[in-house]
């Protein structure tokens, strides 16, 4: 079995079989990171380019290491240091990179759909490394990977996702991925932070933290901050924390073995209490490690490799 598309644009486009394939492949690749020489020759002679129009540390480095551990050549292009800064269009930049015989273009962009539009214009593989608030498929795959690793299964799990669902790049993809794999997903948050139309993918929406996380097997959290995209949506971080901060008391309402995951850049005391954060930190680290294996699996499968 292989992936049906040349690109990885979103969870939306993936079948459950393809998701399972990526997770299984990632599990096989994970042990490479434990070897003294963390490198296999799989993509030797191929080139991966990161085309990042938005600041990112973790995702950018994760793709870079994934490419390098597969022995691919790797280049980093950022908007600030490329001709994008002169106003060159995304498509023109991408076509120039394609002309240099690069095989993979890993794109991060603030605008929803930018990688999708680009993928129609180039023949090489486009991997979406986050397109604004739309999709962040590899992060969602890492979430599935970790949940599977800890819980052993996904189907039937009760998952609560809390935080800023308007600006969080991973929220939609993770919700979609979990639903596709048979989990029961609840988005928790104040109404203005829940995007209209969310129910269309089959999630529940809950505006009370206590109700939303009751009996949860997994809680996924995103950073909550006041930024220009949401400043009219919540009155203050203090008020948000009062009603939605994941405290020990609230966590006690979830299942006793509830897995708490955070997408990083924690705002302690806002969406997560410091004592709960200490527990979550271990999984944050594990997710970063596993993220490389998942991204290796994506590059490997897009290169035409199968599971074996």
């Amino acid at each position: 079995m292989a992936l049906h598309s040349k690109d990885l644009l979103g969870i939306q486009e993936l079948s459950t079989d393809e998701i399972q394939l990526i997770l299984d492949t990632a599990a096989n690749l994970r042990n490479i990171a434990e070897r003294p020489i963390k490198k296999v020759p799989t993509l030797r002679g191929r080139t991966v380019a990161n085309l990042f129009y938005e600041p990112s540390t973790r995702t950018r480095i994760s793709f870079e290491l994934a490419a390098k551990r597969l022995s691919a050549d790797f280049i980093n292009i950022t908007a600030a240091t490329s001709s994008a800064a002169t106003g060159e269009t995304l498509t023109d930049t991408a076509k120039a990179v394609q002309a240099m015989q690069v095989e993979f273009l890993v794109v991060r962009h603030s605008m929803a759909g930018a990688p999708h539009q680009l993928a129609r214009e180039v023949e090489i593989s486009v991997v979406n490394a986050g397109d604004g608030p739309h999709e962040h498929p590899t992060q969602a795959l890492v979430d599935l990977f970790t949940i599977l690793d800890v819980k052993g299964y996904i189907e039937g799990l009760k998952v609560a996702i809390t935080g800023d669902h308007i600006t969080s790049p991973a929220g939609r993809s993770s919700a979609l991925a979990l639903i596709k794999m048979g989990a029961e997903v609840t988005l928790v948050g104040p109404s203005p932070l829940i995007p209209p139309g969310a129910e269309s993918i089959g999630v529940h929406v809950e505006h009370s933290m206590e109700e939303g996380i009751a009996d949860a097997d997994v809680i996924l959290l995103s950073r909550v901050e006041i930024n220009p995209d949401n400043e009219l949506r919540i009155p203050s971080l203090r008020e948000y924390a009062r009603f939605f901060c994941l405290t020990e008391t609230r966590l006690a309402l979830a299942k006793p073995d509830c897995l708490v995951l955070h997408w990083g850049s924690m705002n302690r005391g806002v969406e997560i209490a410091p004592d709960v954060a200490r527990v979550a930190e271990d999984y944050i680290a594990q997710q970063i490690t596993d993220g490389i294996a998942v991204r290796m699996a994506v590059l490997y499968l897009l290169s035409g490799g199968d599971r074996s």
Binding site: Q12, T89, A112, G113, Q117, P196, G197
Partner: protein, 439 residues
């Protein structure tokens, strides 16, 4: 004066549709000296009269598009008066109403005169300019010199492209425009609700991650403008209605007897927001495509008379602008070369409206609303603006065949019915046998 302006033309054997005089049946039409001279059955040609066989075709007053962006002056890379009016003629339109958001803005007689004289020299259709409501098309501040614009030849006022944000400015525009008997065409948009959005709010905005524009962004300012019309008078015409709530507001305003009309466009009658799911910028327009219930309500409104006019909101853009990411790609679709075929295919062939009602929506009503004397009808004495439309052929929409410089159509590749066979504008033949007669 070209040959066919001096020589009489007899359009014979067609089915004449003229809703303004209530004619809908077999008939011949004699054009003479740029005017319709006789309409009747079994007219016989005299002397050197050119006879055009219209057997199997509808013959109706040239279509009038109340909502077109010709882009000239200023953005000739998107469209020119020449290419825009060519596209109009190819689509069966003999008149286009040109919106004011050009660079320079049509807020003064000099620009109006430039557009009119360019159209006179290079045009393939009549061009009726719209003056801006506010100076510089700012949507606030000073009113344009409405009286001077009217003298120069504008047929309506509109800041289309931007809303008139201040209620007091809209109130003054309505009462002042009434002094000169010029309709005010709104672009209804609440920036607070629409700001940053590019797609219908709901399932479509969620699935794409694009910021949404709720229908209330249109309905709320329309409600405001209806109340201002009630208080201050004037002729109010609501542009590009996309949502069920807006249509209901207009319906009630009409029941109250207010001087209010509205328009919608073929894309709101045939497409819904899921058309944009693959980030296809050729289906990005403002207001955005809505939900199926909105589409159905608009179709019903077209049938029951709540919708007065069907317009294209022809908004050509360059290919490279439309290749931008969805969020920053400009709003707008072209429509002149697909409109009548879409309405015929989706509304007439399906039995929703008659050909006569189609002509009313696309010719008679726009002429009446804008006060275009001798247009929108084939009554003897009216101007010889005539379209011969053959309903039988089918074709695939191909943007490289468009006369328009804009290729941004959401219907490319779609099979539609109908063919614009012949078109006369003021008696001048501009389309013959389906081909533009280029000069």
């Amino acid at each position: 004066m070209t040959d066919n302006e001096t020589r009489d033309t007899l359009i014979a054997g067609g089915h004449v549709v003229d809703p303004l005089v209530g004619y809908d049946g077999p008939g011949d039409i004699l054009l003479s000296g740029g005017f319709v001279s006789v309409v009747g059955e079994g007219l016989s040609p005299k002397g050197d009269t050119e006879v055009v066989d219209a057997t199997g075709c509808y013959v109706f007053p040239g279509l009038i598009d109340m909502h077109v962006h010709l882009r000239q002056p200023g953005r000739e890379d998107k469209e020119t008066i020449r290419t825009g009016t060519m596209a109009a003629a190819a689509g069966g339109f003999t008149s286009v109403v040109a919106k004011a958001n050009t660079f320079l803005v049509m807020d003064n007689p000099a620009v109006v005169e430039f557009v009119l004289s360019t159209a006179e020299r290079e045009g393939y259709a009549n061009v009726w300019p719209v003056g801006s409501i506010t100076e510089g098309l700012k949507g606030f501040g000073r009113l344009s010199e409405v009286g001077g614009l009217k003298r120069a030849g504008v047929v309506a006022l509109s800041d289309d492209g931007v809303p008139v944000v201040n209620s007091d400015v809209m109130a003054r525009a309505l009462e002042y425009s009434a002094d000169f008997d010029v309709p005010v065409i709104t672009h209804s948009e609440d920036y607070g609700l629409s700001g940053g959005g590019s797609i219908d709010e709901g399932t479509a905005s969620f699935s794409t991650g694009l910021a949404g524009i709720p229908p209330e962004a249109e309905e709320i300012p329309v409600a405001r403008d209806i109340e201002l019309q009630r208080a201050y008078g004037g002729k109010l015409h609501v542009a590009h209605v996309s949502a069920i709530g807006t249509l209901e507001r207009v319906r009630r305003a009409k029941e109250d007897g207010l001087d209010i009309t509205c328009e919608t466009a073929p894309h709101y009658l045939t497409l819904t927001a899921d058309r944009v799911a693959g980030f296809d910028t050729s289906a990005k327009m403002n207001p955005p495509l809505r939900k199926e219930e909105d589409r159905q309500a608009l179709v019903a409104g077209v049938a029951d008379g709540t919708v007065d006019c069907i317009v294209t909101d022809h908004a050509p853009h360059t290919v490279w602008e439309k290749a931008e990411p969805f969020e920053t790609a400009p709003f707008g679709v072209v429509g002149l070369e697909t409109s009548v075929f879409l309405i015929y295919t989706y509304l007439v062939k399906t039995g929703v409206v008659s050909v006569s009602r189609m002509v009313e929506l696309m010719s008679a009503n726009p002429a009446r609303r804008l006060g275009l004397e001798g247009r929108g009808t084939l009554a003897p004495g009216s101007r010889a603006d005539v379209t011969v439309f053959d309903p039988r052929p089918e074709f695939l929409v191909a943007s490289d065949e468009f006369k328009s410089r804009g290729k941004n159509s959401p219907y490319v590749g779609e099979k539609l019915s109908g063919k614009v066979v012949h078109v006369w504008v003021n008696g001048r033949r501009v389309v013959r046998g389906g081909e533009i007669i280029e000069e």
